[in-house]
Amino acid sequence: MKKNLSALIAGTVFGFGLIVSGMSNPDKVMNFLNVIGQWDPSLLFVLGGAVITTFIGYRFVLKRKTPILDSEFFLPTNTVVDKKLLIGAALFGAGWGMTGFCPGPAITGLAFGVLEPVVFIISMSIGYLIMNKLSTK
């Protein structure tokens, strides 16, 4: 119960941050990525604010033996830069550049009640379904 409530709070804070930062606006994302248009460098400030905060916070949090509501920290153990990572990141970049949406802002965008985020998320879920089928074969 505590865990579920805590996750709901974390998600809400995240979504609120996406709105305040402007990252949930696909126009703003496109204007950041499109370097020959009317360039809007705001997203650098989003990434900067988020990384500086998280970097400092993680130093303290990861000194603990365990998280507050679970028995261990679940950190990625894979450290190898492989083909899968590179191809995956390239495909993601292409989809992001084409639409101005990445997963978080698209989900938060559902709050606006417009069509684009809905279509994007259905399409993205089909992508997950395909990869899941391929990996369990």
Binding site: G17, S21, M30, P41, G88, I122, S123
Partner: protein
Amino acid sequence: MYPTEFTPYLSFIGGIIIGISAIWLMLFHGRIAGISGIVKTALFQEDGRVWRILFVVGLVLGGAIGFHLTGFSFSYREGFPLYLIIIGGLLVGLGTSMGSGCTSGHGVCGISRISPRSIVATIVYLGVGIIVATLTSSMFL
């Protein structure tokens, strides 16, 4: 393409708020705040599905609260080809699944952990994103 206003202060503050959420998820759950990973795991893994779904519900709730408090309403793109959204969404699903992360997991959490995989992934998706967005904007908008 609709021009947008440069908002360094709000964007930086929004980034800090996103960072606070990432710290929260690590402090209480021991988890990376990677949205693609959370969504994908919620879809295919029964164990831990409830908290993940609630995190996703929170993203929408936070969006609604943010919308009401700040009054930010975004000009949704009339005339933006829907097939680009369909293809792009599919690419984001395939890509973040293969590359194990998106802007939040690699870009925010991974870089904060100084993970070489995340730093490389961020450089690649930013680079490809810049090329594709520049082409898309000049062709379609």
